[in-house]
């Protein structure tokens, strides 16, 4: 479902070129939950950005399903994202001008799906926010906002869900509730989950872990 080969990302700083990621080879099977772990600055989020087609690699290739992402232009990648990918972010990334319902409707509307309102309302009910449809993000707690973000991420029934530190901005008990929900929906809908986290306990709930260190994958079985 997700594959990368020889993936690298190099940026140019005042001190010279800097490799954030090098020689990343990986394959993630459909329906699996994979955690990308590593300390701050190890390149986790950069890898997520490349795998999701939000950024272009300096070297190597990325495939999402059958799409060769780095061969597509930005609009082409956007189209693939719209069709296959859902996102959950640490900072929720809800549009403050839209209500909870409208935020969830947004991807459906972008894809011109039928009855976006009904589908969005159903999803919000599923994440326990039936009473909060008309609330704006500012009127919701952090946990509630992340649940709206999860509902939004699943609204298009994505084949792959990318989650970037989804509990990073939540206290531990709220975080746990949100993660339970995420995994539940993931299972229900047979979604491939790529989760970036520095939380080992959370990573342990995934079927596989990919550990990054200084921009490289640490082979399985190696102690960090």
């Amino acid at each position: 479902m997700v594959a990368a080969s020889g993936l690298g990302k190099r940026v140019y700083t005042a001190a010279g070129p800097l490799d954030i990621l090098s020689d990343i080879d990986l394959q993630i099977q459909a329906g699996k939950a994979v955690a990308i772990v590593g300390v701050s600055g190890s390149g986790k989020s950069t890898l997520l950005g490349l795998l999701a087609g939000l950024d272009l690699p300096s070297s190597g290739d990325v495939w999402l399903a059958e799409h060769h992402m780095n061969a597509l232009d930005e609009d082409g990648r956007a189209q693939v994202r719209g069709q296959l990918v859902g996102f959950v972010f640490q900072s929720f990334q809800l549009l403050s001008g839209l209500t909870a319902l409208e935020n969830v409707m947004l991807p459906l509307e972008l894809a011109a799906a039928a009855e976006p309102r009904a589908q969005a309302a159903e999803l919000l009910e599923r994440v326990g926010l039936a009473e909060r449809l008309t609330h704006y993000p500012k009127q919701l707690s952090g946990g509630e906002q992340q649940r709206v973000a999860i509902a939004r991420a699943f609204s298009m029934r994505p084949a792959i869900l990318f989650a970037d530190e989804p509990t990073g901005n939540l206290d531990s008990s709220t975080g746990e509730t949100v993660i339970d929900l995420l995994f539940e929906l993931n299972r229900e809908r047979d979604t491939t989950l790529v989760l970036v986290t520095h939380d080992e306990a959370l990573a342990a709930r995934c079927e596989r872990r990919i550990r990054l260190e200084a921009g490289r994958i640490v082979p399985a079985g190696t102690t960090p």
């Binding site: 989020s45 997520l48 950005g49 939000l54 950024d55 930005e74 609009d75 990648r77 956007a78 189209q79 693939v80 994202r81 719209g82 069709q83 990918v85 996102f87 972010f89 990334q93 549009l95 001008g97 839209l98 409208e102 947004l106 991807p107 509307e109 972008l110 894809a111 011109a112 970037d164």
Partner: protein, 832 residues
């Protein structure tokens, strides 16, 4: 994304952004720009269309022949045989008397059939609602303009005297066809019957009169007669058709539109700056949303469509509101100018509305498009890395589009590429100079910050830190305050100068049209009443037709062809004594032996304008007779001495054979005015020009016109406020955060508020200072180069402008920064 989805989403986001207040400044700026432009647009359109609709009505005929003397009866017979209807009127200035009051009036005596086209409008009493009137004054009657009645304290049914003839006022005249050429007439109008003219005794050989012959008929008949007549016209005849009549009023309107257009452009450019600032912030605040939408699969086209749809709808709505406001403002303009307008405004057409909407969209596109276009370039990766922003817009693009928009709009007002470029270059140069000045003042203010208290230090630091926006605000307000100060200054100085120009004992009255056989009697009349008069001069009305045997139209430069002296009859005189206030510049004054020799002395400025030199031969016509004279001297004349003065002075014995009237000037203290009534009653042909009243009337017109300019400048000031609020909004997030931090560190609300107050008072005072410096320079140029006034230091401006700036901007800025202390620091810091 389908069109429908994009559109729905765009409107939803627009509604939310509107509620959040993000787009209010942007809209307000559009409203101001559109209101300013449509106010002028509606005003000139209504008057212009009024003029076109009514141009035949205006003229009162399809064709008018004007002549200083009656024309051959055969001409009128020819017109009638061509199938035209004819009528005639006689126009002259005369002092009208009622009881112990007198007033110079523009009299028009009309014959049966007048007007041939259109109709008179009258009201039953002064300032009552008027209506069309199919009649005309019967013999023994007069219809008078409201202003004449007010001046004389009369009402319908009262009696006034024109020359020796008493006339009963039957109606109040509100509109009279044929008053073309001078939309802003000075003397109030009086209409009477032509049959009464002989009895007035006003018409004498040599009197200043205009005979008007009116013709109406089919287009072909008019064209045929026009062709026939043209071949027979003399230099003193003037033919006015519908086209010419329209052009005369049209060009006055065009000038007004151009001049007010410049003020409107200043408002539009400032509004544009506010729009650019607001759009920049709008764009920045939508980076996250754009990144998220990209993440969710929206294409660049989707984003562009989404934002452009919002911009379009916002632009149209705000422009529509601006049009409405402009229409209201235009009503105000009509009220301000009601008395001066030559015509009834026509109903509004859709054109200014359309132009207003377009103006709004062009300003919006010119100033808001570049920052909004940036949104499509937001990298989707921004959802993970907040520090990623789209590439900044290309500076060429930003300024290019804005300048293109300004040029487009400016061209609309000037209709002239050269003028557009000149105005643009002038505006850019002035902005650059004032901008640099603002920056220097800001830097000087900054140096004070170590010597002031904490609040002032905070304020001065804020100004310096955001010095680019500070300078733009200083510039915006400086410009608006400067324009207003210059207008106010010129008005008050012109008015006082006019008043000062009539010092005690300088002649303040002119008596003209004194008949030759009355000259001695008038001299005795004055002497008997101890009224000192200047010399009494003869006046012969003649035209300058050639210079060195070449027709004047060919002999002079292109610019000089429109010189007033060539297009009307001049007053020619003869005398032996050189006037005290005249000086010979070249050549020599008359000697005894010059008597009877064809020589002439020419006024120096006229000579310069027309390129006349010593020993040139000038050809004149008086009536049908032509003669020439050699230029023997060039004279400088002090025109403001209020003595009779002449462009052309002959030695005795050259033009005595022509019919002449005489003129003099004299000083009369205000209490002695009743003497004038006696004078006019004894010598009805005499026209007395009361300079004090004429100056008062010119003052009134000037006051009204400057009021209109200030009215339009209010929009410039409003646009300045839009810039202030846009700049405030742009810095609000930063201010909120700093405010929260400072409060967390122990600063009191009071301290913060004092800092804000200090900041905006300083900003306003600096803008006022820039305005004062600009005003001083502009006034100096205007006074020394254009108005030729003595220039003195304008100290009141140096106090008033900074004070007004400090109060206005201090108050607005203080109000605008209120959210900084209203919101909880904890919430603010957490949101960050």
């Amino acid at each position: 994304m389908t069109h429908a989805t994009r559109w729905r989403l765009a409107m939803r986001l627009l509604a939310r952004d509107w509620r959040a207040g993000e787009l209010r400044i942007l809209s307000a700026a559009i409203v101001i720009a559109v209101a300013a432009s449509t106010a002028i647009g509606f005003f000139t359109d209504r008057l212009g269309r009024g003029m076109i609709n009514q141009s035949a009505d205006f003229l009162g005929a399809d064709l008018v022949l004007e002549s200083p003397r009656p024309v051959a009866a055969a001409w009128l017979a020819q017109a009638r045989s061509t199938g035209l209807r004819t009528s005639e009127t006689l126009k002259f200035s005369s002092v009208v008397v009622a009881g112990d009051k007198l007033q110079l009036a523009g009299v028009r005596a009309v014959a049966a059939g007048f007007p041939l086209r259109g109709s008179l409008r009258t009201a039953p009493g002064p300032f009552l609602t008027d209506a069309e009137d199919a009649g005309m004054p019967a013999a023994g009657e007069a219809w008078a303009a409201p202003r004449l009645l007010t001046r004389l304290g009369l009402d319908s049914g009262d009696t006034l005297t024109v020359g020796e003839q008493a006339l009963v006022i039957r109606k109040v005249l509100t509109f009279e066809p044929g008053q073309v050429g001078s939309p802003f007439g000075v003397a109030p109008r009086l209409l009477m019957n032509l049959a009464d003219v002989p009895a007035t005794g006003v018409v004498q050989p040599g009197s200043r009169l205009t005979y008007q012959y009116l013709f109406a008929g089919t287009e072909q008949d008019i064209a045929r007669f026009r062709g026939w007549l043209k071949a027979r016209l003399g230099a003193s005849h003037r033919l006015v058709g519908v086209q010419e009549g329209r052009r005369a009023v049209g060009s006055a309107l065009e000038r007004a539109e151009r001049f007010l257009g410049l003020a409107v452009m200043a408002a539009i450019v400032l509004a544009g700056v506010a729009i650019a600032m607001a759009a920049r912030r709008y764009s920045q605040r939508h980076f996250d949303m754009s990144a998220m939408l990209r993440c969710l699969g929206a294409s660049q086209r989707d984003l562009l469509g989404l934002y452009l749809a919002q911009l379009l709808v916002l632009g149209l709505l705000a422009s529509a509101a601006g049009c409405l406001l402009g229409w209201l403002a235009q009503q105000g303009l009509l009220v301000l100018l009601a008395e001066l307008l030559p015509m009834a405004p026509s109903a509004t057409s859709a054109w200014p509305l359309l132009a207003g909407l377009l103006t709004g969209l062009v300003v919006l596109a010119g100033f808001a498009l570049p920052p909004v276009l940036r949104l499509k370039g937001v990298p989707p990766l921004r959802v993970l890395r907040r520090d990623l922003s789209p590439l900044p817009s290309n500076a060429w693009l930003v300024y290019g589009i804005a300048i293109a928009a300004v040029v487009l709009l400016m061209w609309r007002y000037t209709g002239n590429a050269k003028l557009t470029l000149a105005a643009l270059a002038g505006g850019a140069a002035a902005s650059a100079v004032l901008g640099v000045l603002g920056f220097i003042l800001l830097a000087l203010g900054r140096r004070l910050h170590t010597r002031v208290g904490v609040a002032w230090r905070f304020g001065l630091n804020n100004l310096w830190r955001r010095r680019r926006t500070s300078v733009s605000q200083i510039l915006a307000f400086g410009l608006a305050l400067m324009a207003m100060a210059v207008i106010a200054l010129v008005r008050s100085d012109l008015l006082t100068t006019w008043q000062d120009q009539l010092p005690v004992d300088v002649p303040n009255h002119f008596a003209i049209n004194i008949l030759p056989d009355q000259v001695e009697a008038v001299r005795d009349f004055m002497a008997a009443r101890d009224v000192p008069t200047t010399q009494i001069y003869p006046m012969v009305r003649g035209r300058l037709v050639s210079i060195n045997a070449e027709a004047v139209s060919q002999a002079v430069t292109k610019e000089a062809q429109s010189d007033n002296a060539l297009n009307r009859e001049l007053n020619l005189t003869w005398t032996t004594e050189l006037q005290e206030d005249n000086a010979i510049v070249s050549g020599r004054w008359w000697r005894v032996e010059d008597s009877g020799r064809p020589l002439v002395s020419v006024e120096s400025k006229l000579a310069e304008r027309l390129g006349i030199e010593l020993n040139d031969y000038l050809g004149f016509t008086v009536g049908d007779e032509a003669f020439s004279a050699r230029v023997a001297s060039i004279r400088s004349v002090q025109w403001d001495s209020f003595r009779p003065n002449f462009y052309m002075v002959f030695p005795p014995g050259v033009i005595e054979r022509f019919a002449a009237t005489w003129m003099t000037s004299f000083y009369l203290p205000p209490g002695d005015k009743p003497m004038l009534i006696e004078l006019v009653r004894n010598y009805p042909a005499i026209t007395v020009l009361e300079m004090d009243l004429i100056i008062a009337q010119v003052e009134r017109i000037f006051r009204q016109v400057t009021l209109v300019v200030e009215y339009v400048l209010l929009f410039v000031l409003l646009a300045g406020f839009a810039v202030l609020f846009a700049a405030l909004q742009a810095s609000l997030d930063e201010r909120l955060y700093e405010g929260a931090l400072l409060r967390a560190l122990g600063a009191s609300r009071r301290q913060l508020r004092s800092g804000h107050l200090a900041e905006f008072i300083t900003l306003g005072a600096l803008a006022g200072l820039v305005a004062a410096i600009g005003t001083e320079c502009l006034a100096w140029v205007l006074y020394s180069q254009v108005l030729h006034f003595d220039y003195s230091f304008k100290w009141p401006v140096w106090i008033a402008a900074p004070l007004v700036g400090a109060v206005l901007i201090g108050a607005a800025g203080y109000r605008g920064t209120r959210p900084v202390v209203e919101r909880s620091p904890v919430v603010l810091l957490r949101e960050r």
